[in-house]
Subunit: 138 residues, 4 copies
């Protein structure tokens, strides 16, 4: 991952209900792991939790999600989810991620999300306030 | 099922993401099937959709859920979900359900939910208005 | 969508457990809708169900998933999921999809999946047998 | 909880994808939390992981689940899941659980599961081998 912005890490465990008929983590759950990591990092690393966002009347909405699967995670696995702001726009942000298996540090999946900021009550696009842009510019 | 109140039916298909490592529907998903059936029946049979409830400032909250599993559903199965109001109280309702496999009508699971009505904004218990109690007394 | 291969449709309803805190369908669930549509179409349109695949010792694994969200689906929505084989390779297939809201036919999301065929027991890549390639070339 | 058998604890965080339209943890997810706690405790406390079970050709199947909801968990919550073998039968086990919010130790939900042991390949009931019964009798 490039380095204009910081890369942050969260640690998560696979949950049994994430496993599908192939006895690996179900493909769409990886996106949920990244979401969980972002929530953790919003609060812990950017000091601006999702609850803080909602209180200010804002929310984030996914515009694009892209994921490449390299190696499946299984029932006994835990993972490190690394995310990084790759681009910061007036109305949105592009976040790159990778998920590594804790045991051997090998990459399980990687990709990116494009989020736009919206007014939580109407769902309409919002301009990212300066202090939020500043908080994300670390 | 007894017959003071009507029993209603909804038809649902198993979705691939419902299947777990045992290659059957994951146990907690059966509760989601009943929830889906209730939403369908609220709108179609009681003429009072969940959206109507929310617009009036009410929501339903699960107090108790009880389920007995008889025969698992698999990836190719569809089901009939039957529910019935078993008891109607000033602040809540007990709903009995059974889930039958469409192919052979055999029971896959049965049980009950106890719901209480709440004010949607505060989550605090509400008295069920008379017109709603009447709508459920069919 | 282009037209070398056929486009098939499946109809699905939003389930209440798909809704997230923003009161729309949760972003990762759209991928599950496409999966459900593919299973339906494998059986109904390609005459080769996932169960048939598993019996022959094969399974499909997601290598890449890409989705662009246009308009959210809500609790009362049903949808039409259209998928089409865009490319057929010796070891995999690229499937394009779009999800339209039934009520107004407007596009809710679109994107593509890249799948590879694997031996179900080992998870290792497999060459797509000719009869399967033929079944998909419609 | 009574005390013939030991009570074990697991710590879990709420995941954003667990939250439903009421902005609390979705009711069926609490059952998944208990499942996750049991998997953790099978490995860590009983020294017999689910993977060990599967390798010996056994699996556990839910026969009955019963849950009473006391206080909802929210997006920022973490929890302590306590489980205890309440009864051990030749073919199954009854496990009682309670879920407490980490922040204030108040009970969010409690209930029980009845599991039966099955042969993993056929799904048919199995007699619990003596060494497994012994491992659970702590």
């Amino acid at each position: 991952m490039a380095d204009q912005f910081s890369t942050f890490e969260s640690r998560l465990d696979v949950r049994p209900d994430d496993i599908d008929m192939n006895r690996h983590v179900h493909n769409s759950k990886y996106l949920d792991y990244v979401l969980a990591a972002r929530y953790d990092q919003m609060e812990r690393c950017y000091k601006m939790s999702m609850t803080d966002f909602l209180k200010r009347g804002f929310s984030w909405v996914v515009k694009v999600a892209h994921i490449e699967h390299k190696r499946p995670l299984g029932i006994d696995d835990s993972m490190i989810v690394r995310t990084r702001v790759a681009e910061l726009h007036p109305r949105g942000v592009r976040v790159e991620f990778e998920i590594a298996k804790t045991a051997d540090e090998r990459i399980s999946a990687k990709g990116f999300f494009e989020y736009v900021m919206v007014h939580a009550d109407t769902g309409r696009p919002a301009l990212i306030p300066e202090d939020i842009a500043a908080a994300y510019s670390v």
